[in-house]
């Protein structure tokens, strides 16, 4: 592992990592890379986020969909756990709440495969520091 030896080092590293993530987000590496984040704070895990994450990883693989599934922290929608964020290439991310296996299956079949939204979307209701 490389050490960060100076601020210039860190800045360079940031550019590279950001570029890497942007490429991933814009789907330039692969035309159809789907990104999924599962909210895995204690509340999410208690509500059953772990089996959903495993289900997504297994099922996306089985169904031949090119996707990365990662964990993240609390999205803030504790009333609707488990929550996941799905980002299709070239599109804004969409957050789904109350995701059980049935819902996860529906999300894969309808949203990920065909771009059809399904019930249970949670609209973003906050500003990020980038805009404020």
């Amino acid at each position: 592992m490389t050490k960060v030896k100076s601020l210039a080092d860190l800045k360079k590293m940031k550019e590279e990592l950001q570029a890497k993530i942007e490429v991933r987000e814009k789907g330039e590496v692969s035309e159809n890379l789907v990104q999924i984040k599962v909210a895995m704070a204690t509340c999410g895990i208690a509500a059953g986020a772990k089996p959903i994450m495993e289900f997504l990883i297994d099922e996306l693989d089985k169904r031949g969909i090119n996707a990365v599934v990662t964990q993240t922290g609390c999205m803030g929608y504790c009333y609707a756990e488990p929550t996941i964020e799905v980002k299709l290439p070239g599109k804004d991310p969409v957050i789904f709440g109350y995701v059980d296996k049935k819902k996860a299956d529906e999300i894969i079949e309808k949203y990920i495969k065909n771009g059809e939204l399904v019930d249970g979307i949670i609209p973003t209701n906050y500003e990020t520091i980038d805009n404020k």
């Binding site: 601020l7 940031k14 950001q18 204690t42 993240t72 922290g73 979307i121 609209p123 906050y126 805009n131």
Partner: protein, 592 residues
């Protein structure tokens, strides 16, 4: 094309189900059901103007939509591509219709600063943190500012301690920096103990590096090379993610010796707490870290003079640290542009209780309780009536309807008889008994009192007993005076913050819900129907058909009566479990 209809509880109450149906039938009538999908979503957080309908991909945002508007939206917008102007949101300032929801950020009442990375990055991957400006703030501080300049930025930003006290953070750092010593410490207080609060846990679980980075900035400012995070062992996932984060930061050389070649060294270790509430008080916390009993001591000396191991120590809360890096990167002016005159920035709240959108929110200071509860929180569960909101945990108080429109900040909440606290917000409805709520908090304080000073150890116990007596219907008018007097004595004489604030739930409920106390004392009634001792189950002989369902299900055989004849309850035996009410199909049993 998609039509999103808000299915939040507020909008649902104003017929969003019917709106969905109407859209579907209108689309079908125009043979568009396969091209346009109608989707029910979660709450948009804009219940005031609900029901909300959003059309994608053009992000058109319609407000106060009625089922009969569906036909027009389909005909005009979907088919002809013309927005229905009369349903667009009217910007109250500019008197203009706003069509694209991307330009109506003002309706979004939340701003995420402390939570900026929570739910975005993978907390166990330092690369994702670095890609979102991670460790840039410490880099900037080390290369561009000296410690005093950095302290001045924090001071100018107006950041105040988020653990509850609201002490200016920059000033705290300055005091610690001026005390000379061979070793100093930066301590992060992650001993979150208020019932119903989970802000700090969420930050640590979602963005552990932001706290580590801010601690090292603080270390640079005060001249400390060691950081300690005091975290309760009840937070295993937060501990695990912190450990991963510390290991990764060390591996990258972002913690440890000679950070980024600047000669500055800083490292962080964890200290576990056993979950005692009093250990959130900084002197008790420090004693607990030293291996001593978790008991507070008199201030002065303040930790900034003599803290951990007798050395100058700066203690800040998790959320306070989580605000530091954005302040450094975006500037003090940016931060102080958010919030009220004396309380800058944002506050994270954990919304809990009888509220629809239970969750973690971050709002600018100065927002009203009404906006938090009825907009972001989506209102009260099951359409019940709002009664009170408890802020500040066991140290805070209950605020009522009349407080809903005051801007939330440190000073206003104290003036209203509560406090900001660490950010727990528990919403109560008409079914909650305020005497029982006060009793619940006193029960907690009695349990958590360390026992060192008499006012807290003995006084709180007496307060609890008085409240218990009142909830049993044995209270007298003298008891109400005694409650108030004793509360004042405890406030004035207790040693630490825990004792000094523990009577607040009693005082605020006495002030705001005196009639409820009177009902318990004079009429021997609990208006909310919560106090078991004051309840009486009765069967209405007119409505009872003698089906025997209640008698068969009574666990203590308190119900008697002949088949097909009205039954009755022997109140001397009845344990008020409510099993009979559940079984009665004729609504013949009620609580009096």
């Amino acid at each position: 094309m998609h039509i999103l209809v808000c299915g939040g509880t507020g909008c649902r109450a104003s017929s969003s189900d019917a709106i969905v149906e109407k859209f579907k039938s209108e689309l079908a009538a125009n043979n568009l059901e396969n091209d346009v999908q109608v989707i029910m979503t979660g709450c948009f957080g804009f219940c005031e103007k609900g029901p909300i309908v959003k059309v994608l991909p053009d992000n058109t945002f319609y407000t106060q939509v009625k089922p009969e508007d569906a036909a027009e939206i389909v005909k005009e917008h979907v088919i002809k591509g013309r927005k229905v102007n009369r349903l667009l949101y009217l910007d109250p300032a500019k008197k203009e219709h706003v069509s694209d929801s991307k330009h109506m950020g003002f309706y979004r009442k939340q701003i995420r600063i402390a939570l900026r990375n929570c739910g975005f990055i993978n907390p166990e991957n330092i690369d994702e943190y670095i890609a979102r400006d991670g460790y840039q703030a410490i880099g900037k501080v080390l290369t561009e500012f000296d410690p005093q300049q950095t302290i001045d930025i924090i001071k100018k930003s107006g950041l105040r301690g988020r653990g509850g006290g609201g002490f200016p953070t920059g000033l705290k750092w300055e005091i610690a920096s001026k005390n000379k010593a061979d070793q100093k410490y930066v301590v992060c207080n992650a001993d979150e103990g208020d019932p119903g609060a989970f802000m700090d846990r969420s930050v640590l679980e979602g963005d552990p590096h932001s706290v580590l980075e801010a601690m090292s900035i603080c270390g640079y400012c005060i001249g400390a090379s060691k950081g300690l995070i005091y975290i309760r062992a009840e937070y295993p996932l937060a501990i695990k993610r912190l450990k991963v984060a510390i290991a990764q930061a060390r591996e990258y050389g972002l913690l440890g010796n000679d950070i980024m070649g600047t000669g500055f060294s800083f490292d962080v270790e964890l200290r576990y707490g056993a979950g005692a509430f009093v250990c959130g008080e900084e002197t008790a916390l420090i004693h607990s870290m030293e291996g001593l009993r978790g008991e507070p001591t008199n201030k002065p000396p303040f930790p900034a003079e003599s803290g951990y191991m007798g050395k100058p120590t700066n203690v800040n809360n998790v959320e306070t640290f989580a605000n530091v890096c954005p302040i450094i990167l975006k500037g003090a002016d940016w931060y102080s542009s958010i919030g009220t005159e004396k309380s800058k920035g944002t506050k994270v709240f954990a919304l809990a209780g009888k509220i629809n959108n239970v969750g973690l929110i971050e709002v600018p200071m100065g927002i009203t309780l009404r906006e938090v509860i009825f907009e972001i929180g989506g209102g009260i569960k099951n359409g019940k009536k709002f009664k009170a909101v408890q802020t500040g945990g066991p140290s805070g108080g209950c605020l009522t309807e009349k407080h809903l429109d005051i801007p939330i900040d440190f000073d206003n909440l104290i003036a209203a008889g509560s406090m900001m606290g660490s950010g727990g917000m528990i919403v109560m409805d008409e079914d909650d008994c305020m005497v029982s709520v006060a009793k619940f908090y006193l029960d907690f304080t009695v349990e958590e009192s360390c026992g060192k000073c008499a006012p807290c150890r003995i006084g709180n116990k007496r307060l609890y007993e008085l409240l218990d007596k009142i909830t049993k219907g044995e209270g007298t008018m003298d008891d109400l005076d005694r409650l108030r007097n004793l509360s004042k004595v405890i406030k004035d004489t207790a040693l630490c913050g825990l004792g000094q604030t523990s009577p607040n739930p009693v005082l605020s409920t006495l002030d705001n819900f005196y009639d409820e106390y009177l009902a318990h004392v004079q009429d021997k009634k609990c208006p909310a129907g919560k106090c078991k001792a004051l309840m009486k189950y009765v069967i209405d002989p007119e409505a009872c058909v003698g089906c025997t369902a209640c008698a068969r299900n009574c666990p203590v055989n308190a119900i008697s009566g002949e088949r097909k004849k009205p039954h009755s309850i022997n109140t001397a035996i009845c344990i008020k479990c409510g099993a009979c009410i559940e079984k009665c199909k004729f609504d013949a049993i009620s609580i009096k």
